[in-house]
């Protein structure tokens, strides 16, 4: 059903994909310029590693950031939520299912993009062959999706109290904080070590940065374990917060205009 709905918005979808590819190209050319005329490492990354980072980023973005649940906030502020509340469906399950459908679609396209860009740009890409890293990478993606869903949910529930803020709260958190602190724009270990260590205690690096590092095999097994645990703990914390906020929000819900 969701997939059918996605395809009805073909143009939207294509435009979104185009934007995605441009983001990747910007990332690619920026770092290409940084490395040009230089050999060796910059910020602890080799040319090959940073490009792999970029390409893994495409897939990780497709897995983690492609969501339908960013409609939650709008639905609450315009009262469309009413429709959903009247039906015998679990609200969280409903959105997780819709997200899943959307993610599958995006992952397929993500691979096509990666394939295309590899053919065009012909970079040296590193493929992870160690099964431990590969499996923990998959695990870290699941943790990441869970964290992201709950961050989205929490910010989406703001309109229960302030309907006009449907868009603002989410923009601040998602577009600014998440985009910069998750590693979606640059690997966050280029920050000074003290800042980096503080960041690693927040939930954000576990969205993008940690999964990519695990894939690249640049974490030791201990670091992999620690990162998965901290990520999972954050997931549970955020999950219980978003559940609580949801319950409180429903009590003040007015179902305006419907």
């Amino acid at each position: 059903m969701s997939i059918v709905q996605e395809f009805t918005y073909r143009l939207n979808f294509i435009m979104w994909k185009v934007r995605n590819i441009i983001q990747i190209l910007v990332f690619f050319f920026l770092w290409d310029a940084v490395f040009s005329g230089r050999n060796g490492q910059i910020f602890g990354y080799t040319r090959e590693q940073i490009f792999t980072y970029a390409f893994v980023l495409i897939v990780v973005r497709a897995v983690v950031f492609s969501v339908r649940s960013n409609d939650m906030a709008g639905q609450i502020s315009n009262g469309e939520l009413t429709n959903l509340l009247l039906k015998p469906v679990n609200y969280f399950k409903y959105w997780i299912t819709r997200d899943a459908a959307y993610k599958i679609l995006n992952i397929i396209f993500g691979f096509i993009e990666v394939g295309g860009l590899i053919l065009i740009l012909k970079p040296n890409i590193f493929f992870q062959s160690n099964p431990v890293y590969f499996l923990t990478f998959i695990l870290s993606l699941i943790v990441s999706m869970f964290i992201y869903f709950n961050i989205l949910a929490m910010t989406s529930f703001v309109p229960f109290w302030v309907p006009e803020l449907a868009w603002g709260a989410q923009f601040l958190v998602i577009a600014v904080i998440v985009e910069f602190l998750s590693g979606a724009s640059f690997p966050i270990d280029i920050f000074p070590k003290s800042i980096y260590q503080i960041l690693m205690l927040t939930p954000f690096p576990y969205l993008i940065f940690a999964p990519i590092k695990i894939y690249l095999g640049s974490f030791s097994y201990l670091e992999v374990f620690r990162s998965l645990s901290i990520g999972a703990i954050w997931g549970v914390i955020l999950w219980s917060i978003s559940k609580t906020v949801w319950k409180k929000g429903l009590k003040v819900y007015e179902g305006v205009g419907r």
């Binding site: 059903m1 009413t82 009247l86 039906k87 015998p88 009590k251 819900y253 179902g255 205009g257 419907r258």
Partner: protein
């Protein structure tokens, strides 16, 4: 039988209170900034202690002026709003818990709401509802066939919703809301915006549904015909309180302070004097219609007979439509 008393009450509402808190904003940018830093909150008392019970299979009309609390009541009954205080039970469930067993037995249809997916044909929404409500395929086929036949929309189910007319769309909405055969149905302005033919179709359908499935239906409407044709019992609500709860016919005796005298005169002598007896509603010789306070109706009638050349005289109640019209204007007080 032991269970009859409990089972026969589909809906029980006792001293239901619902308050909303709204932020008051002054107009303009400064107002917006002010309200951001020191929001002024205002309590709105949408429902102030509403009580009623509805038996299984009853079809009742909720009437009252805009903002009286009708929709708030329906939303609270369907579990959308959290009651500030009071007791509600619908089909032996607390609506607020929104248990799947409860939600599978009710439906709320609102005239201005759409649950249909705008860009897809209605059939897709029906299929989705089939899955959500876990309707067995055979039952689904039967219900769908029956509903689309009764509502005469069979040929449009594959048309994208955005290409349907309002009347067609409303009937699709109704179909989507009834596929799971709810036992309790809340209809909020089901005929709003429909043309006369479509309105009549909708009414016939509601009547049939109530009769055939013994469904309990609460209907709110500003459409006189909806109420007169469908509801045997009405609940009048204004400013969050119930003003009247009883048979539609009794609404008149309860609220009409006047009665109507209709007389045919044989001569027009002294005809100008007639306004001393009562308020003239119509004066077109030989016919006269006057309205007189209930308490003095006998006196007025005999005065009329003594002082004028009366051929024929009848005393009537004020038409029900007049009363309902006054309900909508919020003119009725306890």
């Amino acid at each position: 039988m032991l269970y009859t008393t409990a089972m026969d009450k589909a809906i029980i509402v006792d001293h239901l209170v619902k308050n909303f808190e709204v932020t008051v904003k002054e107009p303009g940018l400064t107002g917006a900034i002010k309200s951001l830093f020191s929001p002024k909150k205002k309590q709105i008392h949408a429902l102030r202690g509403v009580s009623f019970t509805i038996q299984t299979g009853e079809l009742i009309g909720f009437i009252g002026p805009n903002g009286a609390g009708k929709t708030t009541t329906l939303k609270t009954l369907s579990g959308l709003l959290y009651p500030t205080s009071g007791f509600i039970e619908v089909l032996e469930h607390d609506p607020w818990e929104r248990k799947p067993e409860f939600l599978k037995q009710i439906s709320l249809v609102m005239g201005q709401k759409n649950q249909l997916w705008w860009d897809l044909p209605a059939i897709e929404t029906f299929e989705l509802n089939k899955a959500i409500y876990e309707i067995p395929t055979r039952e689904y086929e039967e219900n769908l066939n029956e509903l689309t036949t009764l509502l005469e929309i069979k040929k449009y189910v594959n048309t994208p919703v955005r290409k349907l007319s309002l009347g067609q769309r409303m009937r699709m909405e109704l179909t989507a809301s009834l596929l799971h055969k709810p036992k309790v149905l809340f209809l909020d302005e089901p005929t709003i915006g429909l043309d006369l033919v479509a309105q009549q179709k909708m009414r016939d359908f509601i009547y049939e549904y109530n009769r055939k499935y013994r469904a309990t239906i609460i209907l709110t409407s500003h459409n006189m015909d909806d109420l007169v044709n469908l509801a045997r019992r009405v609940v009048v609500i204004d400013e969050g309180k119930i003003l009247f709860d009883g048979a539609l016919e009794d609404l008149t005796s309860r609220f009409a302070k006047e009665k109507i005298i209709r007389a045919t005169l044989s001569s027009n002598d002294n005809i100008a004097e007639i306004d001393k007896i009562g308020k003239i509603k119509k004066l077109a010789f030989p016919e006269v219609v006057i309205s007189v306070p209930r308490s003095t109706i006998a006196v007025a009638a005999s005065e009329l007979l003594q002082n004028f050349a009366v051929d024929d005289l009848t005393i009537e109640e004020v038409p029900i439509e007049d009363i309902i019209r006054r309900v909508f204007k919020g003119e009725l007080k306890k």
